[in-house]
């Protein structure tokens, strides 16, 4: 018996090794031996402008080699004039990055065109439609982003938590209306996040594949949240469900989702997308209020948890928004922003899915009031977009 099974197992291993060897030989011969090139291709020099920092009298560029070949940055033109500059290492290997800075009296609100000239005379242009000073990484800006996170994360969640007795007593179909409204808001945000994320993905270095990062962010966060949800359910069923612990678990899940929201808002504001940033703030603030409800729902209406726990739940769910806003705001580059928007997209999609599954009976979307709520949510978002 044992000899009978061992022989096929050994054969399988040998076969697998053979397949791998053949695959390796194929790759080797393709890459090194019989290059299938019809002619010598001239070097493709590409440099991405990942981050542009404007200070009064100074321009700073974060550059990354975006092409296949090495790039040597020889000179720069600012608004069609050669300009002196400082650079870390003017030779950029594939995907290498460097920082270039120039003293230049740029004009507030006017266009600024920065042209890199490589050693082969190739020009790579970066145009800023309206120059304005980049927010500095000082205490004030850090606090501004933190405040932003508190506005859209912590406060709405706390409001939701405290509104819980009122919502708990609400008839099912009106609860459905509010859940539908939440979905409407989120669907609008989902589309907007996709549109902005794919636009940012286009600006990211092509070698880093912004759209790929967006997709990875979205899919991974959906997987993470789905796994978290399942784990949470398994835990609650086997441990006889301590209500408060469950509430914390939900708050953790929502906190992860809010981290994505913070990233989205921070990145949108850092990218100068003030309209989207404001829209996201309003949208997230509104819908985060409903998150409070989701968190306290397992606690039941009977006993009110202590104030410390209310604040604790709010912090777990809401404070990651602050962290997200910092990361999004200060780490802004098109690539990271693509990933951040992907994370936000996935988180929003997952929450829509979770909420819609929870809408049953009178609160189901097939009922009139929840559907109206969804429509109202969409219209509210569209209208706030017009106003903001």
């Amino acid at each position: 018996m044992s000899t009978a099974t061992r022989a096929p197992a050994a054969t399988r291993w040998i076969r697998l090794a053979g397949v791998l060897a053949l695959l390796g030989a194929l790759l080797f011969s393709f890459t090194f031996v019989g290059k299938l090139t019809l002619r010598d291709v001239p070097p493709v020099e590409a440099v991405a402008f990942e981050r542009t920092i404007l200070e009064p009298g100074k321009v700073e560029l974060h550059l990354r080699n975006d092409g296949r070949d090495e790039v040597r940055i020889a000179q720069i033109l600012i608004n069609d004039a050669y300009w002196t500059f400082e650079i870390g290492d003017p030779v950029l290997g594939r995907l290498e990055s460097t920082v270039l800075s120039a003293e230049y009296p740029w004009d507030d609100g006017n266009p600024l065109a920065i042209t890199l000239i490589t050693s082969t005379g190739v020009t790579i242009v970066h145009e800023i439609e309206a120059a304005s000073a980049t927010p500095e990484t000082d205490a004030r800006t850090i606090w501004t982003y933190a405040a932003l996170g508190i506005y859209i994360g912590l406060i709405p969640v706390l409001i939701g938590l405290f509104a819980f007795p009122f919502l708990k007593r609400m008839p099912g179909r009106w609860l459905g209306f509010f859940l539908g409204l939440t979905i409407g808001l989120l669907v609008f945000l989902l589309v907007d996040t996709f549109a902005e994320g794919s636009e940012l993905a286009g600006e990211a270095p092509s070698a880093l594949d912004g759209l790929g990062l967006f997709a990875i962010g979205a899919v991974l966060v959906v997987l993470a949240l789905t796994w978290f949800e399942g784990w949470q359910k398994r835990r609650s069923s086997e441990a006889g469900s301590e209500p408060l612990r469950l509430a914390y678990l939900i708050a953790t899940g929502i906190g992860l989702h809010n981290l994505g929201e913070g990233l989205a808002v921070g990145a949108a504001l850092a990218a100068g997308e003030v309209g989207l940033g404001a829209g996201l703030i309003v949208g997230f603030a509104l819908h985060n209020t409903t998150e409070g409800l989701a968190i306290v729902s397992p606690l039941g209406g009977k006993e009110r948890p202590s104030l410390v726990h209310f604040l604790g739940l709010g912090a777990v769910a809401g404070l990651p928004t602050v962290v997200g806003a910092w990361a999004g705001g200060f780490a802004f580059s098109a690539s990271w922003a693509s990933l951040a928007f992907g994370v936000a997209f996935g988180a929003i999609a997952q929450v829509i899915w979770t909420i819609s599954r929870s809408m049953k009976g009178e609160a189901a979307l097939s009922r009139g009031l929840p559907a109206v709520g969804l429509a109202v949510g969409l219209i509210v978002m569209y209208t706030t977009g017009l106003i903001v």
Partner: protein
């Protein structure tokens, strides 16, 4: 290379956050540009031009030795050829020109794939006296067809155009004509497509002196040219004698009170007009250099392609005096420099 690795690692982290980015900037890895930034120089006339335009200019220096020519030398390296006298007593000047491809550093670190006569842009400055016989053997060491087309009197078969004196790869042709009329002239390749052949660098000065001579002066040649480094039909580099800002980096030394005679030739491709403006003086303008009397007294002259003039001027106060195209865009793209008068 450890520093490089560390820098790229930091750089990547730096892109993850402005704080990281600030670390790169704050760190000691930054290579400070060789060209001084504005305001770093105090006193000393050598830095006058560096402070005059703020951070305007290029970073680093051109390796003239690698180029094989220096813009300061090209100003006055007149080439009289191999001189002999024929039976009739006429001076004969013989030259051998070789058309070769060469990468030329037209601004610090920027290499232009030039087509050249004798490995330099502009090509050698041919200098003769009115009535001399010019014999030029052109060898084509490139893989394109080329010619030498002279502005001056010559027969149809010596015109240096497709069908008359065009030289295929590996072939040779000998141009033979009498140098006239006297003046400031030029030669250039006339193979097709013409714009490519000219803008790639196949041109040079052709100076013919009048028989009676001219008053003694310090003679210089400036060929106003430009380079479309990315081949999009617009120039990225403008210069006099090829290298952008060359005479800003190395001002042209001239003597106080000495008569300066400058032959200015415009061969700029893609732009309809170029010009020269001298600071703090005026010049006598001899249009095309074909008359002995001044046509005009001015400080700025505009020229279309192949237009060229002889200008004469003096400086009677020491110091650095700027000259540049008065298309200010060209100035800021490299066509400017200084006379150092002492």
């Amino acid at each position: 290379m450890g520093g490089l690795d560390r820098r790229s690692f930091l750089g990547r982290l730096g892109l993850a956050g402005a704080l990281g980015g600030a670390a790169v900037i704050g760190g000691k890895d930054l290579v400070v540009a060789q060209s001084p930034s504005p305001g770093e120089h105090h006193g000393g006339s050598a830095s006058l031009h560096e402070t005059a335009h703020g951070g305007h200019g290029v970073v680093g220096k051109v390796d003239h030795a690698r180029n094989g020519f220096h813009p300061l030398e090209i100003l006055s390296d007149f080439d009289g050829g191999v001189v002999s006298t024929d039976q009739s007593g006429r001076t004969v000047r013989e030259y051998e020109f070789v058309a070769v491809n060469k990468d030329i550093e037209v601004a610090p670190g920027i290499f232009f794939p030039a087509w050249t006569y004798n490995g330099r842009v502009p090509g050698p400055t041919i200098r003769a006296t009115e009535g001399d016989r010019i014999v030029i053997k052109l060898v084509n060491a490139t893989d394109h067809r080329h010619t030498m087309h002279f502005h001056g009197f010559h027969s149809a078969e010596m015109d240096g155009i497709p069908g008359a004196g065009e030289v295929g790869p590996g072939e040779t042709f000998t141009y033979d004509f009498i140098a006239e009329p006297f003046g400031t002239h030029l030669y250039h390749c006339h193979s097709l497509p013409l714009a490519s052949h000219i803008h790639r660098g196949l041109y040079g000065a052709f100076i013919v002196d009048p028989k009676e001579g001219r008053p003694p002066a310090n003679e210089m040649v400036m060929v106003m040219n430009a380079f479309d480094t990315n081949f999009d039909g617009e120039n990225e580099i403008y210069a006099a004698n090829t290298v952008a800002f060359a005479y800003q980096t190395d001002p042209i030394p001239i003597k106080l009170g000495e008569l300066q005679r400058l032959h200015v030739i415009n061969i700029t491709e893609f732009d309809p007009v170029n010009s020269i403006h001298l600071h703090a003086t005026f010049f006598d303008l001899y249009r095309t250099g074909t008359r002995l009397k001044s046509d005009e007294f001015t400080d700025t002259i505009s020229m279309g392609q192949a237009e060229r003039h002889m200008i004469e001027f003096k400086y009677d106060k020491p110091g650095q005096y700027m000259f540049h195209a008065h298309q200010t865009e060209f100035t800021e793209l490299g066509w400017m420099g200084f006379f150092e008068v002492s």
